[in-house]
Symmetry: none
Subunit: 259 residues, 2 copies
């Protein structure tokens, strides 16, 4: 790739930090095939410019509230970011990912590792914009008539396009989740799209903030046997968590993933 120029390498690191990603020195060293000394020098320089916070083992983005406000406004809460970070950590090199519509999945777009030859497909305009802004991940857009509520295409034409993809890992959005009724969404066509989508993916993952367990929605898209992982927050009540586990949901949480 474009690793031959040291300045562009520093630009790449800076872009990742600006995106909110953590930088691990040893990972960068391996990715660009240079010694960790060189990486440390880059990180030191970036920290000197105030672009990041230097920590033992790498660098952290500084969460300045002064960043483009428009970017932060609609941006996911810290809790969604935590779920997204777990989700981004599950991806394997070379996979074709699908990011379904949804604000939590939008957070994933910014946090995906940039060094694993991933490809991202999506039907969401916002997620497409986020991936394109990164510039380091090939993007396949699923077109069709845009549903203004969903913020992406979920019509028959979009469903038809799914047959052209062999998805490795799919992050499915859901409006409401419960142990009893499974996962549901508001729109009928959205539900049709998601059901088809899950059949086209080897691995299906749903991210659900704790609010999702309070919500109800009319159109069911599936239950435990349809997905491989359910990523939930640390504060989800243990009885809810137990109920989910008994029905067969494989749970992941930020706390457990950090360990």
């Amino acid at each position: 790739m474009n690793s031959s120029l040291s300045v562009s390498r520093r630009d790449i690191i800076e872009a990742r930090l600006a995106r909110g990603q953590e930088i691990v020195a040893s990972v960068i060293a391996q990715e660009f095939d240079i010694s960790e000394d060189a990486v440390r020098r880059d990180l030191r320089a970036l920290a000197a410019e105030g672009k990041c916070r230097r920590v033992y083992g790498g660098a952290l983005p500084l969460v300045t509230p002064s960043r483009p406000i428009s970017e932060r406004i609609g941006k996911a809460s810290e809790r969604k970011m935590a779920l997204a970070r777990v989700a981004a950590g599950t991806v394997a090199a070379g996979e074709l990912l699908f990011l379904d519509c949804g604000s939590t999945n939008l957070a994933i777009a910014a946090l995906l590792p940039g060094d694993r030859k991933l490809t991202v497909a999506t039907n969401s305009i916002d997620i497409a914009a986020a991936i394109m802004k990164r510039g380091d991940i090939p993007l396949i857009l699923i077109g069709g008539l845009i549903d203004p509520v969903v913020g992406g295409s979920v019509d028959a034409s979009a469903v038809a396009r799914l047959d052209e993809l062999n998805i490795d890992r799919c992050f499915v959005g859901a409006c409401a989740v419960s142990a009893e009724t499974g996962m549901s969404v508001q729109e009928h066509s959205d539900a049709l799209f998601k059901r088809k989508l899950m059949t086209r993916s080897a691995i299906n993952i749903v991210l659900a903030t704790s609010e999702k367990f309070e919500e109800r929605a009319p159109h069911r898209i599936g239950s435990a046997r349809d997905i491989d992982w359910l990523i939930v927050e640390d504060d989800l009540p243990s009885n809810t968590r137990q109920a989910l586990a008994e029905i067969g949901y494989a749970l992941l949480t930020p706390g457990q993933s950090a360990a």
Copy 2:
């Protein structure tokens, strides 16, 4: 012909930079079988012209490859807005419009009248985002593999989708325009897409700021007989304007439209 050879090499480097590619001096030297000194001289000259950023080992495009289009969004200058206003004024009620990729067309998205039962189709992520943000115009998105330079899908899959649309009025983007060579763009696949696009639309309109007449681009997309209107700025030199008119371009300008 030595000098013309040299010029063409520099043009090639410049075109690559314009496409967002990074330039490695040693690679160029080997590719053209010249010494690195000559390459460095080229890069120094380009940097002096403000065409690139000189770095140790080569050169980087000024706008980082990651955000080619999104950077330009901000400066949808008043001049582009003026062209876009003329364009938006041409639409008739009930039409299916197509907004091709391009910052000028992005400006149209915000200026379209909201009360004429329009439908908008586009292959541009940024334009889709703009239309969706309005919320008052139905939107059809053309999907496919996203070309990061173009900022939208222009691959074979996108071209195939065009057959499903009967477009009433299409605003086609162009990188370079001239009376002699017609309208051209940087990317090959983009050119293929635009040529097909124009055959699917009853009316084709191109918006060209005056800079477009100074630019050159490799891939021709058409000439006077392929479009119905060419919208240009008021300050376009009258000899250029006359040359265009003689060849058969039907011109529209903000001044004339205001009258």
